[in-house]
């Protein structure tokens, strides 16, 4: 390798190292802002600022889904292992919405501590299997109160 080429290679290498360091620093500084959602236990513990819109992520608590016949309003609770937050939503729910499903809701806490959502999204996992296999797996496996994919970084 000639001297010029070695020098150029060194420059490119330094460019990559510098960029990598800059990106790592920048992203770790923005870490909090890149958080997509907060968990119910963080909200109950008061770690989430009030009077501001944010996302809550957790599982739809079993037996908590209530509908009122006359409109689309639905009430349910979003829970993790330690806490649950009541949510009210008026709109169309995604196909995957059901008790035990991981969801992310966007909205604001009201004064009574009820989360008023104006968007509810379903967060599914990265497991794909046929219904038969899923059924076979389900027997003999107890459901997790907060799967790893739904856990918010703190």
């Amino acid at each position: 390798m000639t001297r010029t080429r070695r020098r150029r290679l060194l420059l490119v290498g330094m460019l990559l190292v510098g960029l990598g360091a800059a990106a790592a620093l920048g992203l770790s500084a923005f870490r909090q802002n890149l958080l997509y959602f907060h968990q119910p236990s963080q909200i109950v513990a008061g770690q989430v600022p009030v009077n501001t819109r944010f996302r809550i992520g957790g599982l739809v608590q079993r037996g908590s889904v209530q509908r009122h016949g006359h409109d689309l309003t639905v009430r349910f609770a979003v829970a993790d292992c330690d806490a649950s937050v009541p949510v009210v939503f008026n709109g169309t729910l995604p196909d995957l919405f059901r008790a035990g499903q991981g969801i992310i809701a966007y909205g604001m806490l009201d004064k009574q501590g009820v989360f008023e959502a104006d968007q509810v999204l379903a967060k599914h996992d990265s497991n794909y299997m046929s219904p038969d296999v899923a059924k076979a797996l389900k027997t003999g496996q107890k459901t997790n109160c907060m799967p790893a994919r739904m856990q918010a970084a703190r």
Binding site: R5, R8, L9, L11, V12, L15, L16, L19, G20, A23, L27, R31, L34, L35, Y36, F37, G57, T92, L93, P94, D95, L96, F97, I104, Q119, V120, L121, A122, K123, H124, D125, S126, N127, Y128, M129, S130, P131, D132, V133, A134, K135, R149, Q151, A152, A153
Partner: protein
């Protein structure tokens, strides 16, 4: 391979008339198995594999979404490697590669975003969210378009190629961010299904057509890139003696 024979191979590969001569056969060797495997992957995904326990038939779009996403990352990484070769060794064949691969990579990135959006609407309940995975993939599309635009904007092909090389090398920092975005941050997008180091979270009957399809799409990527490289090469070398001689020969 010893150092000198590796260099000899590199020089031979870098020789444009040699590349032009052999690339036609290489492209054809990629095209047939590529089309067959991609065709099998898509067909099996649509018609053979069982529906997903949770998403039903909607998940079948994965057989286009995942190969496209893989190629969007693979294409840009390959361009960045070519970028280093351009910046350090000034190899013409690498210059031609970057320009040839960029529109194909951009197309696969676009396809990834579109199929992801179509998939997200019924399953998540939204066409688009600004989570880390989706946003970084959108930035990748802009990087591809930036390389294409930069090449269009600079008249001298060699200077244009150097600028594109620099952008490719700088932009490659986005590739690990896209890949690990689902690990580092809470995203709406789920984590990786295919894990080369074991523990893939997909039933065997479902994952085999997906892997075959992804390999097929990769071969198609290679085929199209080689074909575009040939066109780019003949245009850039149109005034050289070997191209003139070849054209006279063909008449």
């Amino acid at each position: 391979m010893s150092h000198s024979s590796a260099m000899r191979w590199l020089h031979r590969f870098g020789s444009l008339p040699y590349f032009y001569r052999v690339s036609r056969l290489w492209a054809r060797c990629l095209a047939l198995p590529g089309l067959a495997m991609a065709g099998y992957g898509v067909y099996a995904g649509l018609a053979i594999v069982p529906p997903d326990y949770q998403q039903g038939d909607v998940f079948r779009i994965i057989y286009i979404h995942v190969p496209s996403a893989w190629l969007s990352l693979f294409g840009y990484t390959a361009m960045a490697v070519a970028g280093v070769v351009i910046l350090v060794w000034r190899l013409k064949i690498a210059e031609i590669f970057i320009i040839a691969a960029a529109p194909i990579g951009a197309s696969f990135t676009f396809l990834t975003l579109v199929t992801g959006s179509i998939w997200g609407e019924p399953t998540w309940g939204t066409w688009w969210v600004w989570d880390a995975r989706l946003t970084s993939e959108l930035i990748l599309l802009f990087l591809y378009l930036g390389v294409i635009a930069l090449h269009q904007a600079i008249e001298s092909p060699r200077i244009a190629a150097r600028a594109c090389a620099l952008l490719s090398v700088v932009g490659v920092i986005n590739i690990p961010i896209i890949h690990y975005s689902v690990v580092w941050w809470n995203t709406l997008h789920q984590g990786s299904t295919i894990r080369p180091l074991g523990g893939s979270t997909m039933e065997t009957d479902m994952i085999i057509p997906l892997l075959i399809g992804a390999l097929g799409f990769t071969l198609i990527f290679g085929w199209l890139t080689l074909w575009r490289m040939r066109a780019q090469l003949i245009w850039r070398e149109r005034r050289s003696r070997w191209v003139t001689r070849m054209i006279h020969h063909e008449r």
